[in-house]
């Protein structure tokens, strides 16, 4: 039945498909893969852009690992990620569970939770800067009302990182909450009804029904959150500049300094390659998990 006209028709059909595919691949190659490969190469070069780049071997990496701030930045980023998981992972889940229980004003509440995501990040930062201001700031005024000691929210080495995590959590939890709400909505109502009939309390329902049903989505958001929070930049950049005394210098902030303050693109690229490898590991786990479900 494989007559030539049919084969031709199939080929022409495939040709259209391949040309669509080709355009996509070209776009990816040009705007995604080429910059990544170029970034790797830059990590082995001294770049001035006025003259051809010169190869310097592992020099940039050697200088990078010798910079005491490199270790500080990774430690700080790890600390931020850990804190972000404590606050940022639990908060949206609990909010979603609570919101899911509301029968009335549900869409209004969802919108309210999502509102901070819609604010431009710089507005969020400036707003929180006022919250944290040790003088006329909101938080210290509230503490004062309850006769509690004022805090140096951004100026204390001990709590500045926690302060940054709070901002980040507040600004980003709307999206995760909506994902959780959608997942909660997909749990069949009968399962809850059965649990209720068996006399399960709210806590038991949460523990034995909700969490097991959402295990997969929780794992995915956890990984996405790790990948996202390890790239924290705007919070320390705007609120603390990496201070006090380097307590909030993060990997991306240091990378930014190499590239745009010192104009050392070789070092910046080496740093971004290291970050790429670390994030790549998490991404690999994420891919593996989602592939199973695909």
């Amino acid at each position: 039945m494989n007559n030539p006209s049919r084969r031709r028709r199939r080929l022409s059909e495939h040709l259209v498909a391949y040309s669509f595919l080709g355009a996509g691949v070209l776009c990816f190659a040009l705007f995604s893969w080429y910059p990544i490969v170029r970034g790797w190469l830059l990590g082995f070069q001294e770049v001035t852009f006025s003259q051809p780049a010169t190869w310097v071997g592992w020099d940039n990496y050697r200088r990078l690992f010798a910079d005491p701030l490199f270790v500080t930045a990774w430690k700080n980023t790890g600390y931020f990620t850990l804190l972000a998981l404590v606050f940022g992972f639990a908060a949206p889940f609990l909010t979603a569970v609570v919101l899911n229980e509301f029968r009335h004003a549900r869409s209004y509440l969802r919108m309210t939770v999502y509102l901070p995501v819609m604010l431009p990040p710089i507005v969020t930062m400036l707003l929180w800067r006022w919250f944290y201001d040790p003088g006329p700031g909101l938080f210290n005024n509230v503490l004062e009302t309850f006769h509690l000691p004022a805090q140096q929210w951004l100026e204390s080495e001990n709590i500045s990182m926690i302060s940054l995590v709070l901002v980040s959590t507040w600004a980003n939890m709307g999206t995760t909450t909506l994902i959780y709400l959608a997942a909660l909505g997909s749990i069949p109502g009968e399962v809850y009804e059965a649990a209720e009939l068996d006399g399960a309390s709210i806590r038991q329902r949460l523990w034995h029904v909700t969490i097991p049903q959402m295990r997969f989505i929780l794992m995915i958001t956890l990984l996405l959150q790790i990948i996202g929070t390890m790239q924290v930049f705007i919070e320390p950049y705007v609120l603390t500049g990496g201070g006090p005394d380097d307590a909030t210098v993060t990997v991306l902030l240091l990378l930014y300094r190499y590239a745009f303050v010192y104009n050392d693109f070789g070092m910046a690229s080496a740093m971004s390659t290291v970050l790429f490898i670390v994030l790549g590991l998490f991404a690999a786990v994420y891919l593996r998990l989602t592939r199973g479900k695909g």
Binding site: T48, F49, P68, Q152, E155, T240, P244, D246, V261, N263
Partner: protein, 414 residues
């Protein structure tokens, strides 16, 4: 016919400055029929500079701050102009310390300065009066600053006596100026190699004074990790007594916060020396010799032209453009006198408020920024932050630790 692209054109939000610039372009082109100017807004922005250079978009003549040339020269991102200006008498009239900023380790000249400032103290004259201080006699020593700051803070209602920066490399920049004023140095050359030099009595005295003002007197406010715009805002809202800045800060505060020039005075930096900064122009290393030649002609005509000062001042007077601030004293001898005469004739800002600055500033040592300034400032930001946010900061340890870090940065200076 040669067309050169230049930046430094004022944005449209400054209509008066923009119009003057455009008029100047026309006048220049009329006088130089073989040169055409392709003018663009902006200046040297480290965020976009490399991309522009790599993509062939960098202007032939580009605006830089005094902190930029050393790094740009080291990375070969500016063209040498020594051969082009060797027969230009006006370049010889420029004060050598400002030409030095644009001179590479090879002794060649890589740019021309066009603006200059020395750091001093900007102060609120009304708060001085209210606190029982004489606004015509601002402090000349750091002890005097400390005493004045205490009195101003005592006015209450959230008033801060003295504020300083400690974020985004601006803390390091000001700490440098503190150390200079105390008679010390940030970096010094020994046997041809650069070493950190601020772990010294001057460095310690600077930190001690900052510490005492912040924690013993409580005259520096509670909010720290400040940068220039935060402090300008405090000054603009009438809640700040003094801060370290160049006289060029005054127009910014007056315009941005709708204040009057008469409200502010400038004092020279207390102590022995001050840090001088400024801006200038450098040339694209990929530009042709004709373009570089034309670019130099444009910079000399537009920005370094004492013959045009009187015309410019006359044109600007009465148009909300401040004339008579103690700035831009780039020339020596006759050229300087000529410019001073014009500024005095058309001054529209209260020059008597700047007398304390003008009189004492001339007696101070003028120092420029250390090599690899931005990297060093990142480290010194940490020193400023520690002193201003930790009451029990170990000052000596801070200096030792920071010195070690700065030594590694200075080891890369070529």
């Amino acid at each position: 016919m040669v067309t050169i692209s230049v930046n430094g054109m004022p944005p449209k939000t400054q209509p008066v400055d923009r119009k003057y610039f455009e008029d100047d372009v026309k006048a220049f082109e009329k006088e130089h029929p073989k040169i055409k100017i392709d003018a663009r807004e902006g200046q040297m922005d480290p965020k976009t500079f490399s991309a522009k250079l790599a993509g062939g978009q960098l202007e032939d003549v580009y605006y830089v701050y005094f902190t930029d040339p050393a790094g740009l020269i080291q990375r070969r991102q500016g063209a040498a102009i020594t051969d082009y200006v060797k027969n230009t008498p006006r370049v010889k009239d420029i004060k050598p310390e400002y030409l030095k900023v644009f001179t590479g380790p090879d002794g060649k000249l890589y740019g021309l300065p066009n603006g200059q400032y020395s750091l001093g103290l900007i102060y609120n004259r009304a708060l001085f009066k209210k606190a029982g201080l004489d606004p015509d006699k601002p402090p000349t020593t750091w002890e005097g600053v400390r005493a004045a700051a205490k009195k101003i803070t005592a006015l209450g209602d959230g008033t801060v006596g003295y504020a300083d920066y400690s974020k985004n490399n601006q803390g390091g920049w000001h700490f440098t100026s503190w150390v200079y004023s105390m008679g010390g140095d940030i970096a010094a050359q020994k046997d041809g190699k650069w070493k950190a030099a601020f772990d010294s009595k001057a460095g310690h005295d600077a930190l001690q004074m900052l510490h005492d003002m912040r924690w013993t007197d409580n005259s520096m406010g509670t909010r720290q990790l400040l940068q220039i715009d935060d402090v300008q805002k405090m000054m603009g809202s009438g809640k700040l007594g003094m801060y370290m800045a160049g006289p060029d800060n005054i127009p910014t505060i007056v315009k941005q916060f709708e204040r009057e020039y008469s409200e502010y005075g400038v004092a020279a930096m207390p102590g022995k020396a001050t840090l001088g900064g400024g801006n200038g122009f450098m040339f694209n290393p990929k530009a042709s010799p004709e373009k570089i030649e034309a670019g130099i002609e444009w910079v000399l005509w537009k920005y370094l032209n004492p013959d045009r000062t009187e015309f410019e001042d006359k044109r600007a007077s009465g148009n909300d453009v401040p004339i008579g601030l103690p700035l831009d004293r780039l020339f020596n001898g006759a050229a300087e006198t000529e410019q001073d005469r014009a500024h005095e004739k058309y001054a529209n800002v209260p020059q008597e408020n700047y007398e304390p600055f003008v009189e004492r500033n001339a007696l101070l040592d003028q120092k420029v920024e250390p090599p690899n300034a931005q990297q060093i400032y990142t480290v010194l930001d940490g020193v400023m932050q520690a002193v201003l946010t930790k009451k029990d900061a170990d000052l000596d340890q801070l200096l030792v630790d920071a010195s070690k870090k700065v030594d590694t940065i200075l080891a890369t200076v070529r």
